[in-house]
């Protein structure tokens, strides 16, 4: 009914090109302190996002303006019409190069969900027992989402998605109590998978409880195990973005050796929207463009950009749609093979940052291990920093893989040349 009200206002205001995204979300949310439920919440909301396009000419040049507005289900017909008029007016001053909108297609992939029936089982899977560490607090968000995308030329596609987020904090007592923060985002409701993630987190927390301040060392290899791996490899994904190239945030050209002359592992990178258990998978992007798996980088060489219809059109490249998940092919060495001689192995950070424009990376270390060539000691504190362009020559990828959030690929990577700010 709201879609009818919006299209009526679009007709009344003379809008020719438009796109509507309808998103309905139902959720169950649980907030635990230790094993006690402190509060619970539920949600039932529907949001509408309308894009109004306007084609116009100025000084002999053609433009395609647009403006995006939110339409609320409680808006009257009169209110909607005023919002559409405002958007159309603003779009008339948005001087963007023309680009097409997604061609007509009808596909309804929505299905009913019984996800909420599983919430008690999910909770039971989270609360695993551990002798040393424990769950301090846990937040569970189970969302059932239905999305429909329509446009003015006849596109009408829809899909549904079940999404689970478990944010949890683990605690352990060493010299003093310490904690680690975890955020699991998945559409994989496998209870074994959930329990195993929590068990692994509790084990890492017990290690941090006995960790020593990081020593003042430099010039030794650094292994990133999970945390940091995805962020560092995302540099190559962002360099391959059509939008970043168009906006001068990347100078990468098809055929470029993105890794330079490397001695370590070649990077082969895909985007893959079809990974079933990913929180971020979806069959269509925000324009309604159907998404498919696409290889972008082969052994360090850029094969193609990724991007939505607009930026792909500007660069005259095949539109892949906006990236959801990115995948990197595994390397040949195991993490155990990385662990030779002196090294620092880093497991978790306060907040690892990768600046994909400059290649600078860094973060404060919450848990890692220092090996002096013989003995392996848990370490904490201090920071690691570097620039991917300076160290990528030595980059090695592990053959062990993980599937976490929007990333699927090597679990660990090893580099030489990163700087460690040690404490003692």
């Amino acid at each position: 009914m709201m879609i009818d009200k919006i299209t009526k206002s679009l007709r009344a205001t003379g809008v020719e090109d438009w796109k509507i995204i309808e998103k309905s979300v139902e959720s169950k949310e649980l907030f635990f302190i230790k094993k006690t439920l402190d509060m619970n919440r539920a949600k039932k909301v529907t949001q509408y996002e309308l894009t109004v396009y306007k084609r116009f000419k100025e000084g002999g040049k053609k433009y395609m303006g647009s403006a995006i507005v939110k339409i609320h289900p409680t808006m009257s017909q009169d209110e909607i019409e005023k919002v559409v008029e405002r958007a159309l007016f603003a779009a008339g001053f948005v001087k963007n190069e023309p680009y097409p909108i997604v061609k007509p297609m009808k596909k309804d992939l929505r299905k009913s969900s019984k996800a909420f029936d599983r919430i008690d089982d999910i909770v039971n899977a989270i609360f695993v027992d551990d002798a040393k560490a424990w769950l301090n607090s846990t937040e569970v968000f189970l969302n059932v989402e239905n999305v429909r995308i329509l446009n003015s030329v006849g596109l009408d596609v829809a899909y549904s998605h079940e999404r689970l987020e478990i944010e949890f904090v683990t605690t352990c007592k060493g010299k003093e109590e310490i904690e680690l923060y975890w955020d699991l985002k998945t559409s994989n409701f496998s209870l074994e998978n959930i329990s195993s993630k929590v068990t692994e987190a509790l084990k890492a927390t017990a290690d941090r409880a006995v960790a020593r301040p990081i020593p003042k060392v430099n010039g030794i290899p650094v292994i990133f195990d999970e945390d940091g791996t995805e962020e560092i490899l995302s540099y190559y994904l962002e360099k391959s973005s059509a939008m970043n190239v168009y906006e001068h945030m990347s100078s990468a050209k098809v055929g470029d050796k993105l890794q330079g002359n490397f001695n370590g592992s070649p990077v082969t990178l895909y985007i893959d929207p079809t990974i079933e258990e990913s929180y971020f998978s979806k069959p269509f992007d925000e324009d309604g463009l159907e998404l498919k798996k696409f290889r972008l980088i082969d052994k360090g060489i850029l094969l193609s950009y990724w991007g939505n219809l607009r930026f792909s059109h500007y660069l005259a490249t095949t539109p892949t749609g906006n990236a959801t998940n990115f995948c990197v092919e595994a390397g040949e060495k195991s993490i155990d093979e990385f662990r030779s001689g002196k090294y620092i192995e880093l497991k978790t950070f306060s907040d690892f940052q990768m600046d994909t424009l400059t290649g600078d990376f860094g973060g404060e270390i919450r848990l890692g291990w220092y090996c002096d060539g013989e003995k392996r000691t848990p370490i904490t504190g201090g920071s690691v920093s570097g620039n991917i362009v300076d160290v990528q020559e030595t980059l090695e990828l592990s053959k062990e893989t993980i599937r976490e959030g929007a990333y699927s690929g090597p679990r660990a990577l090893k580099i030489c040349g990163a700087k460690i700010a040690g404490i003692e």
Binding site: K28, E29, L30, I33, K35, T36, L37, D38, M39, N40, R41, A42, K43, K44, V45, Q47, G65, I68, K70, H72, T74, E79, F89, A90, G92, F93, V94, K95, N96, I119, D120, S137, E167, V169, T171, E177, I178, Y181, D183, E247, H248, M249, S350, D351, Q353, D355, L357, T358, D360, G362, G363, E364, R366, G381, S383, V384, S385, K419, I420, A421
Partner: protein
């Protein structure tokens, strides 16, 4: 000009009252927060223009009920109040196997009040065309000032907040406007690509665009200087933190650590340090919706508690934390009006508002003169809290080298500042008499629940580990 309240919320008031009354048949406490916030976001750069509704735009309701413990339901349709009553009571039921926390019923005193602010130029009184033209002019000035500029983002966002809180004894409404802007040059030479930003914010209207315009040449030159930046040799140094960096220290180091829902969870080391020394005598820190006029200045929070000004640290001694309503009930303390939600769709947590170090008596030049070898930390990229263990991480965009009491002109970028919070605060030896707050961007709790906050203070001199 006065910021008017939402017609939609006003016209929904009777339906909301009906819903509250109906739900009292099932529960012993009911409140509803209604929101109708609208805003626009404008971006102009060398390649195009982006106009859309602000991400802070929202219209909807969240109901909170008490049934031994507290439960909530978020919705954005008011068509059928009777059906909504059924949906709410059904949706918030939980499985029988869970152990539940127990809370008393919220005690409320009767209050009915409408609050609003004034701004110089209301967003609705200036057309999108005029705003885009001003941002385009900023972009053109930027390109006139540098041949190394590859792109320049001129960003302006305006949001008009309207909120209504209804319970049996409370009837509150508030409306105010905040704006924020960014100037973001991206420069490139044969070897490097760098970016920097200058941000602007306040309880202001469209007049913010004029503040932005005059700063364009300065931020372009700042970006160019980063092309010659060198990397830092990790170590411990004497540093001077700009008000921006000092603000992020106040926010990350102690702000998050005194959010009192963390006390309830036993996640905050600060709980054991109330009335104990955590910093040097020069450290006094405030947080509060009424402590300053910036983007997180409001009259009541998202739980219907009136905003306050909390002295968190006084002359180096930790005095008080920041609480939402439920944490205060658990801890037996007075709520400080810090219960904030990302939107009507999310839970309320104890959150910061405007957090800052109070000014001191020193002068920046004297502070620079006092350093043999060290750095002036100018701008930050991000920060992360560690309330349990008082670790701190701040990504600093760039630092200026100080040698023998003088700025050498050498730029270092990027810099990671890490350390143990009390060590850092105890090392503060000089505090300038300047004062600046910045409220651009958003603050998360962990990696979610983003809310508007401001932070700042003065220039502070301290010892810090840089990497």
């Amino acid at each position: 000009m006065k910021v008017e309240f939402s017609n939609f919320l006003e016209s929904s008031r009777s339906k909301i009252r009906e819903l509250v009354n109906r739900l009292y048949n099932h529960f012993d406490y009911v409140s509803v927060l209604g929101t109708d916030s609208k805003g626009s976001f404008f971006l102009v750069n060398a390649n195009g223009v982006n106009v859309r509704d602000s991400a802070w735009t929202e219209r909807g309701f969240v109901v909170r009920v008490h049934d031994g413990n507290y439960r909530e339901f978020s919705f954005n349709n008011l068509d059928d109040i009777e059906g909504l009553e059924r949906t709410i009571t059904e949706s918030i039921k939980i499985g029988s196997g869970m152990k539940l926390s127990s809370y008393p019923v919220i005690y409320e005193e009767k209050i009915e009040k409408n609050f609003s602010t004034n701004v110089k130029i209301l967003p609705e009184n200036v057309t999108a065309r005029e705003k885009i033209e001003k941002l385009s002019e900023m972009k053109d000035i930027a390109f006139e000032n540098s041949n190394k500029l590859k792109n320049f983002n001129a960003i302006y966002e305006e949001v008009q907040i309207a909120k209504m809180f209804v319970s049996k004894k409370k009837e509150l409404s508030q409306s105010y406007v905040w704006t924020q802007g960014y100037l973001q040059p991206i420069v490139m030479d044969d070897n490097n690509i760098k970016e920097v930003y200058e941000s602007f914010s306040g309880l202001k209207g469209v007049e913010l665009l004029d503040e932005m315009m005059v700063k364009v040449p300065k931020v372009v030159k700042e970006a160019e200087s980063l092309l010659n930046a060198e990397r830092l040799e990790p170590g411990e140094y004497d540093v001077i933190c700009s008000p921006d960096v000092a603000g992020v220290i106040a926010h990350e180091a102690f702000g998050h650590g005194v959010e009192m829902d963390m006390f309830v969870k036993e996640r905050a080391k600060a709980a054991q340090y109330i009335n104990k020394r955590v910093g040097s005598d020069l450290v006094t820190m405030h947080d509060g919706a009424t402590a300053a006029k910036e983007v997180s200045s409001y009259f009541f929070d998202d739980e219907g508690t009136l905003g306050t000004d909390t002295v968190v640290i006084e002359n180096g001694v930790l005095k008080a934390g920041l609480s939402d309503l439920l944490s205060a009930m658990k801890l037996g303390t007075k709520p400080t009006g810090n219960g904030k939600r990302q939107s009507f769709e999310r839970k309320a947590y104890a959150r910061m508002t405007n957090t800052f170090f109070s000014p001191g008596k020193d002068v920046l030049d004297d502070m620079i003169s006092s350093i043999k070898k060290g750095y002036l930390l100018e701008k930050y990229g991000s920060g992360m809290e560690d309330p349990k263990n008082w670790g701190i991480q701040i990504m600093v965009t760039y630092a200026r080298e100080i040698k023998d009491g003088k700025l050498t002109g050498k730029i270092i970028s990027p810099v990671i500042m890490t350390g143990y919070v009390p060590d850092l605060l105890n090392s503060i030896s000089m505090v300038s008499n300047d004062f600046k707050l910045s409220g651009s961007g958003a603050c998360g709790k962990g990696y979610k629940e983003f809310v508007k906050v401001s932070a700042g203070g003065s220039y502070i001199k301290a010892k810090a580990r840089l990497g």
